[in-house]
């Protein structure tokens, strides 16, 4: 190999997010952060860390405990030409800010006939697995993906956490970046450069001919783990990670299902009205329909609020073993 590979080293997902924020702030004076406990405290999950010491309190702003105010102010700042990056401490708290996200940020460009845009990024950690109970553990991506005017990304690796965030900050539209609490401490190779990962590109994480597993967020690593176990049984799975939910890059999914004839769609969020229903529709509305050898299958969170008890919390969302069993069933039954 003579190609020059970009410099990479291992960072945690949280460090990768921090590096993206730092590089974006270094490159562009307009980029600034606002959120609760993101300054001296360094963020509830330690993501912003020492950024306040590097960039000062003017650009790393601890705000009042007021999510609606945070997003409303960010929308205003974006309209004034700034590039605000909001941290909402838990994605569940976006419920407090939904009016500004849905009725202002997502609509302004359209309703002003393109006269203004809202280049705002909203980062928020979602997902269960930390014992944080029903109001601090939700996976709310479908809420945002349903709103025209918003873009929605769900990074599943450290490299994507950095690359997608940088692309989101560049983007002239409001972008919702749903990080995952369980991923913050996971490590992976991350380019040193401020390398963008383009929004709207599905990643093929693994290729196999028997079944296509589509997964988002923390389910991607579980799907890859499951694929490894399935391979030991002679079942080869492809694992695809949409990364961007809106706009969804469906073509690689359609291609993969066309080849395998089987689709297992895995999400942490409750099944009903979930994003994987959209992926299922994209498959059956496409030319892949004629290649299906099995009904499209979903493996989702139970239709219940995330329970508090650890054993019930685990039971409420797909685990690696569940993915193995469901994929095996698909391949051996059909």
């Amino acid at each position: 190999m003579t190609a020059v590979l970009p410099q990479q080293r291992t960072l945690t997902y949280a460090e990768a997010v921090r590096e993206a924020l730092a590089q974006a702030m270094e490159a562009d004076e307009r980029v600034f952060l606002l959120g609760e406990d993101i300054g001296t405290y360094g963020g509830a999950f330690g993501v912003t860390g020492d950024l306040v010491h590097r960039f000062g309190e003017r650009r790393v702003r601890d705000t009042p405990i007021s999510e609606l105010g945070i997003v409303g102010a960010a929308v205003g700042a974006a309209l004034a030409g700034m590039r605000p990056v909001v941290e909402i401490q838990f994605s569940d708290f976006t419920a407090q800010a939904m009016d500004q996200i849905v009725n202002q940020a997502a609509k302004i460009h359209f309703m002003l006939g393109g006269a203004a845009s809202v280049p705002m990024v909203l980062r928020a950690p979602g997902g269960s697995g930390t014992g944080a109970a029903a109001q601090h553990s939700q996976s709310l991506e479908a809420w945002f993906a349903h709103v025209p005017g918003l873009k929605v990304v769900m990074p599943s690796t450290a490299a994507d956490a950095k690359g997608l965030l940088l692309a989101a900050i560049d983007d002239p539209n409001p972008v919702i970046v749903l990080e995952h609490k369980l991923l913050y401490k996971q490590s992976g190779p991350v380019p040193e450069e401020a390398t963008r990962v383009r929004l709207g590109e599905t990643a093929v994480r693994r290729s196999g001919g028997d079944v296509t597993i589509v997964a988002t967020g923390v389910m991607v690593s579980r799907a890859l783990e499951a694929a490894g176990q399935l391979a030991a049984e002679g079942i080869e799975a492809s694992v695809l990670d949409p990364r961007t939910l809106r706009p969804l890059d469906a073509a690689p999914i359609v291609d993969s299902v066309t080849a395998t004839g089987r689709a297992l769609l895995v999400q942490e969020a409750p099944q009903t009205g979930g994003f994987m229903a959209e992926v299922a529709a994209a498959i059956v509305e496409s030319s892949a329909f004629g290649h299906l050898r099995a009904p499209v299958a979903r493996l989702c969170g139970l239709d219940v609020p995330i329970p508090y008890a650890p054993q019930l919390e685990r039971a409420a969302v797909p685990q690696t073993g569940d993915i193995v069993r469901r994929a095996r069933e698909l391949v051996t039954t059909w």
Binding site: D37, Y41, P64, I65, A133, T272, Q311, A316
Partner: protein, 346 residues
């Protein structure tokens, strides 16, 4: 003005308030320790806020309703909620464990500020049902912190309570810190002064003085009972421990500050007063200490023996009535689990 509201507090009653504060502090410290030992998932310390909670809680009458946030273990105690019943929330077995109607104590609210609107609505209901207007009237009290005062919920609650004359006491425990953010990040004005803009009285009370808290809250509740609500109370106090056991306050505040507040310790103040005035003797203090020790031991014993919830409970109470879809998911899930047992995978 407020003296008449504690005229009935003789030495015996003051010893009772002292005992209340010692017991809830002991329960708090024991629970904090149990979290450190892995027996609780999280704990939310009330250390330093005993006077604000016991004083205001003891001002309530049985017909009143209290809406807590998540730190009001002392208020829970005054409402007859067994401290042990709080532990399920922190051992991750239950979201709430008491009969809130019987106790007049709403389940803990975790989301910052939400309960202020709920309490306002409840108080409006009390008024609409004609339960306000004389000495036997009902009132509502709602607890929140300095951080919550920046939430829209709190402002909208103030507006609604004002225009509907709702019998609600807004009891803000200003413990100086919203996790890492000082009260200066929430307000330029002392918080109690905000009430003026909404058109109802606001008052700041020394939140580390149990008698002052009792007097002012009794007054405020009386105002509400008689139809003169709402009232905002800012209990000026200090969170002597962390926000929760997931927090480390040394990252953002100086230990000097804590040392200053230690001199205003709400329990030591009453103890000194009782000792100096002859309101209590050594035997009393020793008896309370012994009671606190056995209280803590019972708490530990109860906590260690709490049963884990069964897997099918994940489907319980999602809706008020049975749900065919969830019934089907439950059957499927239990069959799935029994498959593991048969395969010997569990």
């Amino acid at each position: 003005m407020f003296d008449p509201y504690v005229a009935d507090i003789d030495a015996e009653a003051l010893r009772g308030l002292y005992r209340d504060m010692v017991l809830v502090r002991r329960g708090d410290r024991e629970s904090n320790a149990m979290q450190r030992q892995g027996q609780l998932g999280i704990w939310v310390p009330l250390l330093g806020q005993e006077a604000a909670q016991i004083g205001s809680g003891r001002a309530l009458r049985p017909q009143d309703m209290a809406f807590p946030s998540y730190r009001e273990h002392g208020v829970a105690y005054t409402r007859g909620v067994d401290f042990r019943e709080l532990l399920g929330i922190f051992r991750c077995t239950d979201h709430s464990g008491w009969d809130f109607k019987a106790h007049g104590f709403h389940p803990y609210t975790i989301v910052i500020g939400n309960q202020v609107l709920n309490a306002t609505g409840y108080a409006m209901g009390q008024k609409f049902e004609g339960k306000v207007g004389d000495d036997d009237g009902e009132a509502t009290i709602v607890y929140f912190g300095d951080g919550a005062t920046s939430q829209g919920d709190v402002h909208e609650g103030f507006v609604w309570a004002a225009v509907y004359d709702a019998p609600v006491v807004f009891f803000c425990q200003n413990n100086q810190w919203a996790i890492s953010e000082p009260t200066e990040r929430q307000s330029r004005l002392p918080l109690y002064q905000r009430a003026r803009g909404y058109g109802f009285p606001g008052i700041r009370v020394d939140g580390n003085d149990v008698l002052a808290c009792l007097a002012v809250t009794r007054w405020a509740l009386d105002e509400c009972r008689h139809g003169n609500g709402p009232v905002l109370i800012e209990a000026f106090t200090y969170r002597m421990d962390a926000h929760t056991t997931t927090d480390d306050p040394t990252r953002y505040r100086l230990s000097d500050e804590l040392e200053v507040w230690k001199h205003k310790d709400p329990i030591e103040r009453v103890r000194a007063h009782l000792a100096r005035t002859g309101g209590a003797d050594t035997a009393f203090f020793e008896a309370v200490q012994a009671e606190a020790d056995s209280f803590a031991a019972e708490l530990r014993d109860f906590c260690f023996n709490m049963p884990d919830p069964p897997p099918e409970r994940v489907f319980a109470n999602v809706y008020a009535e049975p749900s065919p879809q969830l019934d089907a998911q439950r059957e499927e899930y239990l069959a799935y689990l029994s498959g593991f047992a048969e395969a010997g995978e569990h």
